[in-house]
Amino acid sequence: MNGKNNSKPLGPILVLVFLCILFAVVPLLIKDQYILQVTIMALLFAYWAVSWNITCGFAGLFSLGHAAFIGLGAYVSTILFLEYAVTPWIGMLIGGLVSVVAAIIIGYPCFKLRGVYFAISTLAFVSVLQMLITGTRHLGPIDLGAGEGLLIPVAGHSWAKFQFVDKSYYYWIILAMLVGGTALAFSLKMSKIGYYLMAIKFDQEAADSLGVNVVKYKLLSWCISAFLTAMGGSFYAQLLLYVAPDRLLSIPLSIELVIIALVGGIGSVAGPIIGAFLLIPLGEILRTELGGQFAQVEAMIYGSILILIILFLPGGIKRELEERITDTVRWVVSAYKSSYGREKS
C-alpha cells in the first residue's frame, strides 16, 4: 500500500498548487461563517491526520494517543499567553517543542513494543495527561484550569493575539498549515528518510541489516509528527478560545483522527486529506439534520465506518479509487487495442 511512484512527482505537485489556489479563493466567495467554520474544521483534521500519518503511515508507529500532543500544544500556548502574555504565535512553537520533549520521553522507551502494545502505551500516555490536568488546579502559581479548562479572553481582531472575528483569517492560516504540513510530508516521503521509514514499517530487522538506524528514524518521524500535531492544537485553542481536558486530551479525539486517516488511506500523503473532507462535512450534515442527538449518532457512524474500513477497505479510499481508476483505464486501453486490432485485420 505504500508503493511510491517517484518517477513522476510533478503530477501531485501540480494538483497541490491547483488546490491551493482553489482553496485560497473560497473565503472570498463564501461569506457564510458557518460553512467557513466547517471547512476550517475539515482543514484542521486533515492537518492532524497528515501529521499523524507521518509517524504511522510512513513508519508504522501506530499511535492512539496523538490527542496528547494536541492537548500539550493547546495548553502550552494558552498558558504562556494567559500567564506571561506570550503571543500565541511563539507559544505555538514552544508548544511544539514541549511536545517533542514529551514525545521523546514517552515514545522512545516504547519503541521496542510491537504494534498493538505500542498503541496501548500511547493510550496510557493520553489518559495520564488527561487525568493530571483534570485533577490539578495549580502548578505552582500557574492556573491549569483543572476540569473546567481555561478561557482565553476575547480580544476582537488581533494578529498579535492570534484572534480574528472574521473566520476567513483562521481559514487562511489553517490552509497554509495544511499546505506546509503536506509539503513536508511529501518531501519526507520522497527522500532518504521516507525510504528508510518505509523499510522500518515493513521489516524492521531487514532495515537494520541494511544499515538503517531504526531507533533514530523512528524517533525522527515521531518527533516531527508530535511537533506538527501540537501546533494544530495551539491553532485549535485560538479558534475556540477555550481549552479543556475532556475533549482536547481525550482518547475519542485521538481515535477520530485515526479514523480519518484510515478512511482516506494510511501511507499516502493525500489520503488523510481525502478522509477529512469526506467525514467532517458528513458530520456537519448530520448535525444540521439531527440537532441534539447529533453527537451520539455521529460517533456511532464513525465507529461503524471504522469497523467497515478495517474489514473491507484497509488501504483506505484513496487506494481503492486509485486501483479502480487504474483498472478502468487498463480495461479501456485493452478494449480499444483489441477493437483497433480487429479493424486492422
Binding site: 500500500m1 505504500n2 508503493g3 511510491k4 517517484n6 518517477s7 520522497m190 527522500s191 532518504k192 525510504y195 528508510y196 518505509m198 523499510a199 515493513f202 521489516d203 530487522e205 531487514a206 532495515a207 537494520d208 541489516s209 541494511l210 544499515g211 538503517v212 538506524n213 531504526v214
Partner: protein, 239 residues
C-alpha cells in the same frame, strides 16, 4: 579480513556455537557448510550483529565488531542476506534496492542510479517497478542479494541463497556470485547445495553441532573422515 576468534553462543543451555575459529581473506569466496542446526546461521547472526557472542571476538579488518548493532556492522561494510528472504513486500524492486543504496548516499537520484545499476547487474532489470510480493522465489532471492549489494559492502554474507531455486536458476546465481566476487567483494556463503560450494569456494569450513570440524579446500573436505561422518545418514542435496 574477517577473523572469528573462539566464538561461542548458548541458547537456553544448548551450545549453538562452540569455540569457532575462522579466518577469511580478502577477495575469497568462503563457504560454511554443515548439517541442519549445526549453528551456521547463528554464526552469521553474530557476525552481522543481531546478537553478541557469549565469548570470543570478531574482528573485521583488524577492528572488533562483536559488540556492534546490525546497522553499524552494515555501515562498516558487511552486508547480509536472510535464509528466508525478507523483501519489503509492498514496495517495488527499485524501492527495495534503494533502501540499501541510501547507506552510501543521501541523494535520491544517486541512490536511484546505483540501484538501477545493481538491479541490472543482478538481471532483474525488467522487473524494476514490480512489487516485491508478486515476484517468484528466484527473483526474490536476487532482490535480496541486490539490496545487500547496493550497500557497497566489502564482505557479503549469503545465507543459503540457492534454497528453493531450480537448477537453471542456481546456475545463474552461481554465475552472479562469481561476478560479484570478481568486482572485489569477499563472499561468505552458507550453503547446502554442494554444487555451488564446489564451484565457487576457495575455502570451506564445516560446522557440526556448533563445533568447527574442518577448515580447508573443497577437495579436501569431501575426502575428510569427520566431514563424511557428520553427513552420514543425512539427506544431503547434491544437485
Amino acid at each position: 579480513m574477517l577473523e572469528l576468534d573462539s566464538l561461542s553462543k548458548e541458547f537456553g543451555g544448548l551450545l549453538a556455537v562452540s569455540r569457532v575459529r575462522l579466518t577469511l581473506n580478502k577477495g575469497e569466496i568462503f563457504s560454511l557448510i554443515g548439517p541442519n542446526g549445526a549453528g551456521k546461521t547463528t554464526l552469521f547472526n553474530m557476525i552481522a550483529g543481531v546478537f553478541p557472542p557469549d565469548s570470543g571476538k570478531i574482528l573485521f579488518n583488524g577492528r572488533r565488531i562483536d559488540a556492534l548493532k546490525p546497522n553499524q556492522v552494515c555501515k562498516l561494510g558487511i552486508a547480509r542476506t536472510f535464509q528466508i528472504v525478507r523483501p519489503f513486500a509492498e514496495a517495488t524492486v527499485l524501492e527495495n534496492v534503494m533502501v540499501g543504496a541510501f547507506l552510501r548516499t543521501s541523494s535520491v537520484n544517486e541512490a536511484r542510479r546505483l540501484s538501477r545499476e545493481t538491479i541490472d547487474f543482478l538481471g532483474l532489470g525488467s522487473k524494476m517497478h514490480e512489487h516485491a510480493h508478486g515476484l517468484p522465489i528466484g527473483d526474490r532471492k536476487r532482490l535480496e542479494v541486490a539490496r545487500g549489494l547496493a550497500t557497497k559492502p566489502e564482505l557479503l554474507l549469503l545465507d543459503e541463497p540457492m534454497g528453493g531455486l531450480t537448477p537453471t536458476e542456481r546456475e545463474e546465481l552461481i554465475d552472479i556470485i562469481r561476478k560479484i566476487n570478481e568486482q572485489g567483494v569477499t563472499i561468505f556463503l552458507i550453503e547446502h547445495v554442494m554444487e555451488a560450494v564446489m564451484k565457487l569456494s576457495k575455502k570451506v569450513a564445516v560446522l557440526n553441532y556448533g563445533r568447527l570440524i574442518f577448515d580447508g579446500t573443497p577437495d579436501e573436505a569431501v575426502k575428510d573422515q569427520d566431514v563424511i561422518a557428520a553427513y552420514l545418514g543425512e539427506e544431503y542435496s547434491v544437485a
